[in-house]
């Protein structure tokens, strides 16, 4: 699905580059860049314990009334990441998935390039936001037993059960070695 979002020509909003907001449909077919408020970098409200109403007003003021974007040339992006066989092997082991063929690898390379444009966003002095919940209170539970004792229900979803145990394959099944994989001859590919 995401591949359809990849623009034919990379587009990037640059301050003062003169690409104004464009009305109309911004669907996947016409998607061309990253939306950005007209007044430069958005400042994320970081104050804690302020009144909710105030915060809401502040946040509303930062939301642009109309979408904006700017064209981005390929040369503005960071250097294209080379997807090495070692990297593929590493990712396949981590994810326990097989990229299967050259097309899959190219898709990955494009996905990385797609994400690369985020490097161009000016985040100087902006603290990273982990979660939209980060200025909320973390609820603390009293140390009481309120759950459990439902082995039967839990095990009813298991494909295989021995007594009251789930049954799993022994240890982790590693992916077969590169040379042993039939579907995709890594040594033959040209990247």
């Amino acid at each position: 699905m995401w591949r359809r979002l990849v623009p034919d020509r990379a587009a990037w909003p640059r301050a003062g580059a003169g690409v104004g907001p464009r009305g109309g449909g911004v669907g996947p077919a016409t998607w061309r860049g990253i939306h950005r408020p007209p007044t430069g970098r958005p400042a994320r409200p970081r104050e804690r314990g302020g009144q909710a109403g105030q915060r809401d007003r502040g946040a509303r003021g930062l939301v642009p009334q109309a979408p904006t974007w700017q064209a981005l040339e390929e040369h503005q992006l960071p250097e294209r990441t080379e997807v090495t066989p070692d990297m593929i092997d590493h990712l396949e082991r981590l994810a326990l998935v097989d990229f299967q063929n050259q097309e899959g690898v190219e898709t990955l390379a494009k996905a990385i390039q797609f994400a690369d444009r985020l490097h161009l966003v000016d985040t100087e002095g902006v603290e990273p936001m982990d979660s939209v919940l980060e200025d909320r209170c973390l609820y603390l539970r009293v140390d009481e037993v309120t759950e459990g004792y439902c082995a039967e229900v839990l095990l009813s979803g298991a494909s295989q059960v021995v007594e009251e145990y789930f049954v799993a394959p022994p240890g982790n099944i590693p992916l077969p070695k590169k040379e042993e994989r039939e579907s995709f001859g890594v040594q033959n590919c040209d990247w």
Binding site: H90, R93, L94, L96, D130, S131, L133, E134, D135, R136, C137, L138, Y139, L140, R141, V142, D143, E144, V145, T146, E147, G148, Y149, C150, A151, L154, L155, V162, E163, E164, Y165, F166, V167, A168, P169, P170, G171, N172, P174
Partner: protein
């Protein structure tokens, strides 16, 4: 070719070395290069080829200790925490990672971590964060563990411990190890490997139990230091009540990061020895691993950055085949948990529900006396040796036992100590009992020591009484003395009679004494004691014999 790689690496001594040493990410390497001969990446220590082969290697040991928090329910769910329950009975939907479940943090676990942090002289982070650490294993159904990697609950602490030194291990040296951080995290489930049927049985009862991970800096140099540090940590946790500390039940698990280097040189490549479940094995595993690494390096080979397991039967460490290659845990912020905010008296908000507040100052006030403070108090109050205070603290309940005995007897505390260490502990070890399981109550020992102190029984008879008391429950020391006629023989006439017969039966010794060799008198005293089953009052016997022979 292993050999050719080694040769290549030794030729690379001129390469400049950048040092990476990151404990949290489980990565430590001094440098890495691609070896053109065998395409594998080698982590190696650059060694000066021109240095003499005679070298003085030093072990570098850092520990990661996982302590199960002693709480009723799990870290993020309300299921019961208990050892050896029926499989999968203590599992909530969250523990089984069913979709749609969310973690809810247990306040008691936070308090436990803060108290542990305070006891280890840490700085408590008023704002700490949770992260996800990813890895695939069947007993980790979510595919990740919630932990605190970036900003843990406590940092920069110090653990002080006593190391037994000297020939008879009767001297102690005070040592310390820096605590890098203390983090809250989830335990995993348990895997039971059934090799015969080629399957693994999964029990999730332990999945989600709260753990305190204590990460120490590599400040130790040998197994004994590490074991002593772990024992002290165990005592502290037990004293605080934040962890029961039973290593056999896995409530306290230790991973050791071990490397060797030559003083002044950068640290060597480290190997990690995982899941050691006793202090004794920890010491053995570390010492074996240090020796192994020295031998490998002396042979001109390289140390692999790998995970090893300790085989207690052979006393060796062996590579673990389970995890291959470098781990990449793909840490990311836990999106379902906002930051954990901890308060102190100064920052305490006035309008917050007190059930939602963890207050550092309040926890500090509730903290029980720490083992080190208790030891100092014992030494000062009873005028006993530091070594003895360490022994008293090393067994759960022994210190209380000692104090009760000492408070209820006329005997000197030092005498009480020697009885407790030599007789009482010996009895417990022989019968494989803990102090609390002992049928022998402290007041019974007080009574026995009183009898000894008052001169009613000799010290050897007292030991007999002790043995009898261990056998028969419920009988007091004085009852046994009466029944077995173990009381001190102080009857002058009777003793004179016994001495007389001993003199008559040992003419050779008597003539020696008459020649002026009074040392032989001890032999006669011994004979009298033998005849009286060691019940004769020693001073009386000596006086009678001297009178009769002079």
């Amino acid at each position: 070719g292993e050999r050719s790689c080694t040769d290549m690496i030794s030729q690379m001594a001129f390469f400049s070395v950048t040092k990476f040493y990151d404990y949290r990410l489980d990565i430590c390497y001094l440098s890495s290069v691609y070896c053109s001969n065998c395409i594998y990446r080698h982590h190696f220590t650059v060694k000066n080829c021109f240095s003499s082969s005679k070298s003085s290697w030093v072990g570098v040991v850092g520990l990661e200790v996982h302590a199960q928090i002693c709480s009723n329910s799990k870290l993020f769910s309300g299921s019961l925490v208990q050892f050896s329950a029926p499989p999968n009975s203590l599992v909530s939907f969250l523990d089984a990672s069913l979709p749609g479940t969310l973690p809810v943090l247990n306040k008691r676990c936070v308090e436990g971590a803060v108290m542990t942090g305070l006891a280890l002289n840490c700085t408590i982070n008023k704002r700490s964060l949770f992260d996800r650490k990813h890895y695939f294993y069947a007993d980790l159904p979510a595919g990740y563990q919630i932990t605190q990697q970036r900003c843990p609950v406590a940092v920069n602490g110090m653990l002080t411990y006593n190391l037994c030194t000297g020939k008879n291990r009767n001297q102690t040296t005070l040592k310390s190890v820096r605590i890098k951080q203390i983090q809250l995290e989830q335990d995993s489930g348990k895997s039971l490997h059934d090799d015969a049927r080629f399957q693994t049985l999964i029990d999730l009862n332990r999945a989600g139990v709260g753990l305190i991970e204590i990460v120490m800096e590599p400040d130790m140099t040998c197994g004994e230091e590490a074991a002593a540090a772990v024992r002290e940590l165990q005592l502290i946790l037990q004293q605080l009540g934040t962890c029961r500390g039973n290593m056999a039940e896995g409530q306290l698990r230790v991973d050791a990061n071990i490397s060797v280097h030559q003083p002044g040189e950068p640290y060597g490549v480290r190997a990690e020895v995982k899941n050691i479940n006793s202090a004794r094995f920890l010491a053995r595993a570390i010492d074996y691993e240090i020796q192994r690494q020295i031998e490998v390096l002396e042979n001109g080979e390289i140390i692999l950055n790998e995970t090893r397991a300790f085989d207690y039967k052979s006393g060796r460490t062996i590579p673990m085949r389970d995890k291959e290659g470098k781990q990449d845990y793909r840490f990311m912020p836990e999106p379902n948990l906002p930051p954990l905010i901890i308060y102190d008296n100064k920052t305490l908000p006035s309008n917050v529900n007190h059930q939602q507040v963890v207050n550092i100052d309040q926890i500090r006030e509730q903290m029980p006396e720490l083992p080190s403070v208790k030891r100092t108090r014992l030494v000062e109050k009873y005028n006993i040796l530091t070594e003895h205070s360490i022994t008293l603290m090393s067994e759960d309940g022994l210190m209380e036992f000692f104090e009760t005995v000492a408070e209820n007897t006329l005997a000197n505390p030092r005498k009480v100590i020697s009885w407790i260490i030599n007789e009482f502990l010996g009895f417990l070890k022989q019968n494989n009992l803990t102090v609390r399981q002992s049928p022998f109550k402290p007041l019974a020992l007080s009574e026995l020591l009183d009898l000894l102190e008052k001169g009613v029984v000799s010290s050897s008879a007292a030991k007999q009484v002790f043995t009898e008391m261990c056998k028969k429950e419920g009988k007091s020391a004085s009852q046994i003395v009466k029944e077995k006629e173990l009381g001190l023989l102080q009857d002058q006439a009777k003793l004179e009679q016994i001495c007389q017969s001993i003199i008559e039966n040992h003419p050779k010794e008597v003539s020696e004494i008459h020649k002026g060799n009074w040392k032989v008198l001890n032999k006669l005293i011994g004979q009298v004691q033998k005849a009286t089953h060691r019940r004769a009052a020693p001073n009386l016997v000596k006086a009678i014999l001297e009178k009769k022979l002079s």
